[in-house]
Amino acid sequence: MNYDHDRRAVLPEYQHEHRSLIAKLRGRPHITNIMYLPALCFFLVFVVYPFAEGIRISFTNWNGFSQSYRYVGGDNFIRLISDGNLMQALRNTLIYGFGSTIFQQIFGLAYALLLNSHFRGRTLARTLIYLPVLIAPVIMGYMWYFMFQYSHGALNDLTAAFGMVPKDWLATGDRAVVIIVLVNTLQFCGISMVIYLAGLQTIPVTYYEAAQIDGASTRSQFLNITIPMLRPSIITSMTLNLIGGLKLFDAIKALTNGGPGYASHSVSTLIDYTYFRNQSAGYSAAMGILLFLLIMAVSLIFQWVSSRKEIDL
């Protein structure tokens, strides 16, 4: 190491050796950096290259299988703006994202508060609430389909017992969207629950004891101790749910496949549909870029907002 030369004169031999070794470890030429090259290769080949290729395809009118195609400039992107089906899908994607996020926080926090003490049945409840998290979302979607199906559906049997007329639950667009949000919420609120349970355990009991001595009501304890102390958990859980919800694909495929018509498509399922059914790969690639930008933008804004609020406190 060249920059150690001047020290060589004043330091005893062993100390010099020591220092130069430490310098080797901490110093500039990070030889161990080559250890992340395999990972970067994966990202380069299967993320960066496809991304660039996606941009190229989005400027063509390629149908996805033929040899010939033309470059059509920004036509696909202009088409994005005027596409009613896409606008519907965008609206749905935001509902899936924010809707599931809100419901999952409510369910997750309520369950965590309920299960945050020792009583009989607690473990059983936690197991049953968390189990769906580990089931493939697409299979979970099919399981819920047995509930919402028109003929012989379990929900219709239930409502019939109360004298109601059977309904085709998934046949109305907006109702289908709400059902998908609920299905996604019920499957994944277990994640929020365990994050909140972990968060609740970090709040010192003394805070509540002090508040009780000061005569604070349960409600004010919740608002003034629990919620502020849970802030990091809330942000973590919301970020996870938001990104998951905006990416939603499997449950929609299983429950409605985007239908009726285009009413319950998310941008993800619409990309699939445009590519394979409508055979417009170029346009589908343009939607892909839109989806990518949407998720990046939403998560960056969310992170900015959540970090800003922390300073306000």
Binding site: H30, I57, A125, P132, I135, A136, F292, I295
Partner: protein, 275 residues
């Protein structure tokens, strides 16, 4: 707490178990559907009077669920092994070497974590078709590895940061090369976080549908999620068999969860909270 002492604990028990049961309804309904023969028209809320495994036999034969299971096992095992090796290796310099480039690399890896798979649909399928990776093990494994690597690198590098640097330095003084430090000192310490990585990425890969749907087109190469979904699409009149296929597909992970519950939940919390 005072409030808890005053309330009746059995109310909590009843409410909690009731909520748990509500979450179990879709699985329960699937079980009753799977256990009933086609001719049994009783409500799905009721268990059958006699157990009928005909649907399971049909699902095993027609949906080739065991072949799909084999594919899922092979793909999950290989992917997880690669994710652990490549992820742990990549995490070491990222955690230990501070430089502008490494901050950039880290930021890039975090960004990959957010990329929605479907935004890559067209180019990924096109490229895979071009290099002959459609319906092959190596094709789907490389893509799944790529998209699960960020979480593995992230968990490993967070964990390595908690290992005191003095350990590295002591080894260095004992004439360990920087690479030997990783293999001899760091790697043996990574066991607990490796359990988390295996559970999280293993579940994600076993449950994958978005990539498998597009990259595994040949019937022979189908994984369990695909086998179940094709079965559902084809057998709209035979829901019993479809339900049976779904149950077989979710059984391995559900059983694992019941036995290793603590690790599953701890892994989830660690990955989320330490982020």
């Amino acid at each position: 707490m005072m409030i808890q002492r005053r309330s009746y604990p059995w109310i909590k028990s009843v409410v909690a178990v009731l909520i748990g049961v509500i979450h179990f309804i879709p699985l329960y309904i699937t079980i009753t559907v799977a256990l009933k023969p086609k001719t049994d028209m009783s409500s799905r809320w009721f268990l059958p009077t006699s157990v009928d495994i005909g649907n399971f036999l049909y699902a095993i034969e027609k949906a080739k669920i065991f072949n799909a299971m084999k594919n899922s096992v092979v793909i999950t095992l290989f992917s997880v092994v690669i994710i652990i090796a490549v992820g742990a290796m990549a995490a070491y310099p990222i955690a230990r070497n501070r430089s502008r480039i490494n901050t950039l690399v880290q930021f890039f890896i975090l960004a990959v974590m957010m990329v929605p798979p479907l935004s890559m649909l067209v180019p990924l399928v096109t490229i895979m078709a071009r290099i002959g990776g459609i319906s092959t093990y190596w094709g789907i494994i490389s893509v799944l590895v790529t998209f699960q690597l960020p979480i593995s690198i992230f968990l490993y590098s967070n964990f390595i940061r908690t290992i005191p640097r003095e350990l590295d330095e002591a080894a260095l003084i004992d004439a360990c090369s920087p690479f030997a430090i990783f293999y001899r000192i760091i790697l043996p310490l990574l066991k607990p976080v490796t359990a988390t990585v295996i559970i999280l990425t293993g579940v994600n890969i076993w449950n994958d549908f978005q990539f498998s749907l597009f990259l595994l087109q040949a019937q022979q190469s189908r994984v369990v999620t695909l086998a179940v979904s094709t079965f559902f699409a084809q057998s709209s009149s035979n829901f019993g068999a479809a339900a049976a296929a779904a149950l077989i597909a979710v059984l391995p992970i559900s059983l694992m969860f019941l036995f290793l519950q603590r690790y599953f939940i701890q892994g989830m919390v660690d990955s989320a909270v330490k982020g």
